[in-house]
């Protein structure tokens, strides 16, 4: 059973219908790319999945988004645990106004994770990423003796996971806003992962980055997809071809085509998808 199923989703801002009756399943443990021309509702669809869309003004949502079988738009649904479970990475990274360290520790602290729970979380993380050394033994030993050692360890693990540790390990107390945009985006990734999400929504996460940082993020996604379901909005077809396993093509608020990335991006069935892929519409 798919992790995320979208059923007859309609979203409108005031009188403007942005999404018209979208029904699609998003496969588990893969990278799904949402593609389409500007203004076709890609970001709206993405933000509907963890209800961030509700922060917009005058927005109306109809239909269902089922995550593990539960409709997230159920009035009784727990929006806080939904957003914890479905993390979000924005187009332009926005560091929290605090130090690099606190940017990572903020989420776990908010959710009351401490002491033994932190160590459990780290063990789980290690099991997920056997190839990556996210938690070196020497750091683990110091964690036992230091005050707040567990949280220090957690921060280190997630910074390593996001490939940022070596660049920031000597300046963890520095304001996060002093980092470069590429580093901020990896910090955002680490921060998103720190609350143990199962799904990662990414809204054009590399569009404001230099090519090197963009490639780093793409590599992170390739690695993370073993353990997370990743939904990626992208407006560069090449990126979708590079990393997506599954693709959804939206055009003017309607879903035109969806399926394995190799098919949708290289040999689409629909005329509109063909036109988009070949660059006739953008």
């Amino acid at each position: 059973m798919p992790h995320i199923s979208i059923r007859n989703l309609k979203v409108s801002y005031g009188a403007h219908n942005v999404l018209k009756d979208i029904t699609v399943d998003i496969p588990d443990g893969q990278i799904t790319a949402i593609i389409g021309p500007s203004g076709c509702g890609k970001t709206t669809l993405l933000k509907s999945l963890n209800r961030l869309i509700e922060l917009q003004e005058e927005v109306k949502v109809n239909g269902k988004v089922l995550i593990d079988g539960d409709n997230v738009y159920d009035p009784q649904a727990d929006i806080l645990s939904l957003r914890k479970k479905v993390g979000f990475l924005s187009q332009k990274p926005c560091p929290l106004p605090m130090s690099i360290y606190d940017n990572i520790a903020f989420g776990p602290r908010i959710h009351g994770v401490k002491g033994k729970q932190i160590l459990e979380q780290i063990e789980e993380l290690e099991k997920h990423c056997p190839n990556n050394e996210v938690c070196p033994a020497n750091t683990r030993n110091t964690a036992r003796t230091h005050k707040n050692g567990e949280m220090d360890l957690l921060v280190e693990c997630y910074l390593r996971l996001a490939g940022l540790w070596d660049e920031v390990k000597d300046r963890l107390r520095m304001p996060a806003s002093k980092l470069s945009v590429g580093q901020q985006q990896r910090l955002a990734l680490a921060r998103t992962l720190s609350v143990k999400p199962e799904v990662i929504l990414a809204d054009e996460p590399t569009s404001s980055l230099d090519p090197v940082s963009a490639r780093l993020i793409e590599e992170q996604f390739q690695m993370l997809k073993q353990n997370y379901t990743i939904v990626l909005v992208t407006h560069t077809l090449r990126q979708a071809r590079r990393i997506a396993d599954h693709a959804i093509f939206l055009y003017l608020g309607e879903m035109i085509e969806q399926g394995p990335a190799s098919k949708v991006l290289c040999a689409p069935c629909e005329a509109k998808t063909c036109a988009y892929i070949s660059g006739e519409i953008s």
Binding site: L52, S99, P175, T192
Partner: protein, 282 residues
């Protein structure tokens, strides 16, 4: 050629208006310092008025200095406690209807422009009804009312500038509105709070009309919240109103004391604002 002329004309215009502003402010300070400094003896600062002080005999204005400090700091503190939550509640996160927030802002702006004697008269009427006498407490409460619109609007303007992406980032981690507001937004708003304190402090310590009936005037230092309290603006007013040149000089000395207090508070709050704003996103 025309554009160069425009450039030059505008430069002259800017310089002349800047000269007028700085010049007239400098003139005010010069008059106060030149007239006040000779009369500013140690006894002015360390003694309360003795018999015949207002006729030119011995004593000082310690009663007014202490009274003003009590009134200003007490009211700033009280106003802050009320204004911070009020200003934060004007966000769209809490008040969904823009019209409601708009009318609250409009009424606060009107209150900001209301002459302080109106607040004084209102406070006096309420105190008469309650059977309260002119007292430090009455003065603090009326000054608090005077400051609330200033503080709320000053803080509100910086709350409006908090990037939507920052709130989105915070909500995406599964935070509540309270956590986003009081752990993230408030850090970003700290410089605005410092400015609000400055504006409000300046208005409250310099205001005479609102405390004339509510705090009263006395030659003693207030020993409790229910004692009447003297204040520097009223001390200036009373001394300037006498026909004796030496007493009028003391009025200028009192004004100088008031200026110095405002200067010290301004510098201190700016320094504090700087200190706490190193993490802020710009």
């Amino acid at each position: 050629m025309d554009r160069l002329l425009e450039e030059r004309l505008f430069k002259v215009l800017m310089l002349s208006s800047l000269t007028m502003v700085v010049g007239s402010l400098f003139a005010v300070v010069a008059v106060v310092v030149l007239n006040g400094a000779p009369a500013l003896t140690p006894s002015m600062l360390t003694q309360t008025p003795k018999g015949g002080y207002y006729l030119g005999k011995e004593g000082g204005i310690l009663n007014a200095i202490i009274g003003s400090i009590y009134l200003a700091f007490g009211s700033v503190l009280l106003a802050l406690l009320i204004s911070i939550p009020a200003a934060l509640s004007l966000q769209r996160d809490y008040i969904k209807k823009t019209k409601v927030a708009y009318s609250i802002r409009l009424s606060l702006d009107v209150l900001w422009g209301t002459p302080s004697i109106v607040y004084g008269a209102f406070g006096f009427t309420v105190m008469l009804y309650l059977g309260m006498r002119a007292s430090l407490l009455g003065g603090i409460i009326v000054l608090t009312l005077l400051q609330i619109p200033i503080m709320i609007r000053a803080i509100d303007e910086t709350v409006k500038l908090v990037p939507a992406e920052l709130k989105e980032t915070s909500y995406a981690l599964g935070t509540t509105r309270f956590e986003t507001t009081f752990k993230i937004v408030i850090i970003q708003v700290l410089p605005g709070i410092a400015t609000a304190v400055l504006l409000a402090f300046g208005r409250s310590i310099g205001d005479a009309a609102s405390i004339l009936f509510t705090a009263g005037y006395t030659d003693n230092i207030p020993g409790s919240l229910l004692d009447p309290a003297a204040s520097l603006p009223l001390a200036i007013f009373f001394q300037l109103g006498t026909p004796f040149p030496e007493v009028q000089q003391r009025a200028y000395a009192s004004a100088l004391v008031l200026l110095v207090i405002v200067l010290v508070v301004s510098v201190a709050s700016r320094a504090l604002g700087q200190r706490f704003s190193k993490h802020i996103l710009r």
